[in-house]
Symmetry: C2
Subunit: 522 residues, 2 copies
């Protein structure tokens, strides 16, 4: 009995383990896996033109589908191209089964042109890395990779990287394996009691910082009840992987990007209760400014990783108290010359119920949170790891996970240019994604950062020139990938184009021409 | 005395050390370096929209300028985006001073969102990695990085990665440092004698395999003299970083991509003399085929890394013998429906004297070597490390190195989509690059590879679909970056468009619509 080859065992194990999507940009060393897709139609391969598109789409898919997708990448350089969005997935706590094909085991010592240290690169983004040693292990190693990536039963997932040598894939004697049960994180009762005591103290300002899975409705409602009952301030991590927002869902303010603004939000706190969030730190370091944002003298209490802990805490300190939601109104449609603020208002006015927003609007996005707070219920996905080039792939993966929901990608122009290729996959897959490019023709955030270090560049110097993105035509770029696209220079145009794009199925892109911000978000 | 800050010391040291270009896609942690560019105009910053464009351009620049450029990348994710083309630079033996900005030293322990293991990723492509420990070391560390990258006095260069924490850049007390002298590789006299003895033996078939710096005119002439005098067969490595070709320069056949074809080229050899080349190995492994391409019973003799060794060998075994060049004719201009073969003929007919060719045509390029063998003298740059996405950035860097020479980028469509953003830099810099896209709307090489493993995909299966690139419009994509662009579906159109593009300064793109190959190159 020959059994199946390693490639087929990998795919059968993925399918048995609930992994149904494989975002791929394969090469020669992955051809047996690609061929095996014809034998295992339970796994759907989604072609991406660049590996950063594949890894970002796997992240977006899993944030919405609540189970991992697989990737399939081509040796070290293919992994390299996918690293930035795997970094974002790692920071998002997204489960990803990251499969990297490699040369046949016996070929490695010959140092062929594509040979490189895959383990070293994979280790920078993965919680689990394994090289499969033979076809016989292919099923079990795949099952272990799925288990290591985590499931939604856990507080967070992560990237597990399985390296599959070509001879493992083409050799026989393999079989599928069941996925071992994942570990569930229990509630830390002592931490819960400590937090409850802190919240019950009068006159001591307490902040509850929530993040991760608690940015969904149950967690937000629990936090809101705690705030209503105890007067604690609720804040959210700066860059949630997925936040439920809109009508009927408690709204929570996110920590600011700039440390000095976050310090204002946290000022006076005597206690900081962490619920699914990490202790707050400054995104970047600046001369003379602190990295650690916990105020001096503030005690930190971590509830641990169990998503239900916050609900149990709410039942302890706010029994019978209802969460607070503030019904509001959508912004009206503005008119006249377009600005980033008006763009936000138009999005707030038109955002459909059930929308999924992939937000990589960077500086231009400062008005979005307020403008969309009272839209119908929707999900908001943010840039979790700071590695730009997430927005378009993330929207692509989210749309594949939720084919019946509209996806809106709010996208800065500079960061759009890292992984623009994912637009082609949106066309190929017929995805209902509307991309709005905030086109200000500059790396505006770097202008702000230059100003912050006191290095306002001279008018004719190189520094200023290096922030200038003049010359990109996103309508032509989108049409080059097969998308219907249009440009809006007035608010009226944008409202019209956005309304049409949302009404029509399939992908669309709108280039919203906006001036660069004169200063940074408050 | 405060001295200068670390950022300025880095730039002054680069400029003093002959590094004048910095290909960059910077972020917040690099703002002090960007600001310092205003103080050190001897270094020119070249903005790239994606890090793979920056690293590929640095490779192309150094292949032609014969000295390294610097890069400037943003933390681990920026390095990740640049890894694939650093991998190609490593395989090309190209010196690159790869500068990666990082968080301030004291900020790293806080595991801020962009924190990752830069050393681990850098180690996969670098011959030298160092993290600068303080402003006082910034000048010397930069000088050491330049020395480690190598110079053209050495046989080969490499990637040296210098990690610069933000506080190193903003702190004072730094000063520029001189670059320590590079090591030169001496001629291995014993190896030379052994090779001379082998070449003097009658009746024993000897192959001289050349590569690296020996693909320039002096090396090619020495090899040709040896062949003429001894009957040895000269072959070249499969993917030279830079080959001088054309009228008056000895032509050398390159090793084939496929192992079984390379085996035919090497068949019968009793001795293999390596001159600047590595011992030949199969690009990929296949079931039942050897990785090592050295024929059984063939002895391998390595001349070592000194570029002059081959000339000395020629003086020993071929004194007074002249190199052989075969004067030939350019192909005539074909007409009718366009094919990849006709595209090659048109390029052969029109290639200008002094052209620099960046060749990433992959399967469509099979006819290029023959069609261009008798063009006026030119340089041919190939994909050295197999990491696709090299062609457009490489052409960009080569054009910056040689502003008075025309650059022709022969580019497969699939691989164009990895680093298309570099077209924008060509526009911004006003570079005289003509890109010809071989547009066959498929990953044709993977179709060939699927066939080779006996997995010809079923007509309706996923495997076939995953090779299909239908839907890309390269004219629109190029226009979206600001390039004049046109499409050619007939040979007559292509000849006309190419002639015009070559006659006009500045970048152009021509989409040559060709059918996918029915089989792979012989």
């Amino acid at each position: 009995m020959d059994g199946m080859n390693g490639a087929r065992a990998v795919l059968e194990t993925l399918a048995d383990g609930g992994v149904e999507l494989c975002f791929t940009n394969p090469g020669t060393s992955e051809m047996h896996l690609v061929a095996a897709l014809d034998e295992v139609p339970r796994i759907r391969g989604v072609l991406c033109l660049f590996e950063g598109g594949a890894t970002g789409a796997a992240d977006g898919y899993a944030r919405m589908a609540e189970r991992p997708a697989a990737t399939l990448l081509h040796l070290g350089p293919g992994l390299g191209n996918g690293l930035a969005n795997l970094h974002n997935a790692r920071r998002a706590g997204t489960p990803v089964v990251n499969i990297v094909g490699d040369h046949a085991s016996y070929h490695k010592s010959f140092d062929a042109p594509l040979e490189s240290d895959i383990e070293a690169a994979a280790g920078t983004v993965s919680r689990w890395v394994r090289r499969c040693g033979g076809a016989r292990d292919a099923g079990q190693d795949t099952a272990d990779a799925i288990a290591a990536a985590g499931s939604t039963a856990q507080a967070t997932g992560g990237v597990s990287t399985l390296i599959l040598p070509a001879d493992v894939c083409w050799s026989r004697g393999a079989s599928a394996a069941p996925v071992p049960p994942g570990q569930t994180v229990g509630v830390d009762v002592d931490a819960l009691d400590a937090a409850a005591r802190v919240l019950s103290r009068e006159g001591e300002h307490t902040v509850v910082l929530i993040g991760g899975n608690l940015m969904r409705r149950p967690g937000l409602e629990a936090a809101s009840r705690i705030a209503a009952a105890t007067g604690a301030r609720i804040l959210a991590e700066e860059t949630p992987a997925r936040q439920e927002r809109g009508g009927g869902i408690p709204l929570v303010e996110r920590l600011a990007y700039l440390g000095e603004k976050a310090a204002v939000q946290l000022a006076g706190a005597r206690h900081l209760v962490l619920a699914g969030a990490r202790s707050p730190v400054s995104f970047f370091a600046y001369p003379g400014q602190p990295s650690d944002l916990v105020p001096e003298g503030c005690a930190v209490h971590d509830l641990g990783g169990a998503p239900v802990a916050l609900e149990e805490l709410a039942d302890m300190v706010a029994p019978g108290v209802r969460p607070i939601t503030v019904p509001g109104r959508r912004p009206g449609l503005p008119s006249g010359a377009l600005t980033a603020e008006k763009t936000a208002m138009i999005i707030g006015a038109l955002l459909p119920e059930g929308a999924i927003v992939s937000d990589e609007a960077v500086t231009s996005g400062r008005w979005l949170p307020a403008a969309t707070a009272d839209c119908p219920p929707h999900d908001w996905l943010t840039l979790t790891g700071g590695a730009i080039g997430q927005g378009i792939p993330l929207a692509t993966g989210a749309a594949i996970a939720c084919p019946d929901r509209p996806v809106i990608n709010l996208q800065a122009d500079g960061s759009a240019m890292y992984t623009l290729q994912a637009l082609w996959t949106q066309v190929r897959e017929g995805l209902d994604v509307t991309t709005v490019i905030f086109s200000n023709a500059s790396y505006a955030i770097l202008g702000m950062e230059l100003g912050r270090i006191g290095a306002l560049p001279s008018a004719n110097g190189q520094a200023r020139s290096l922030l200038d993105l003049t010359g990109l035509d996103f309508v032509a770029l989108a049409e080059g990938m097969g998308l219907p696209a249009s440009r809006a220079a007035t608010a009226d145009d944008l409202a019209e184009h956005l309304g049409k794009a949302l009404a029509e199925p399939g992908p669309h892109l709108i280039e919203a021409v906006v001036p660069p911000p004169s200063s940074f978000p408050n």
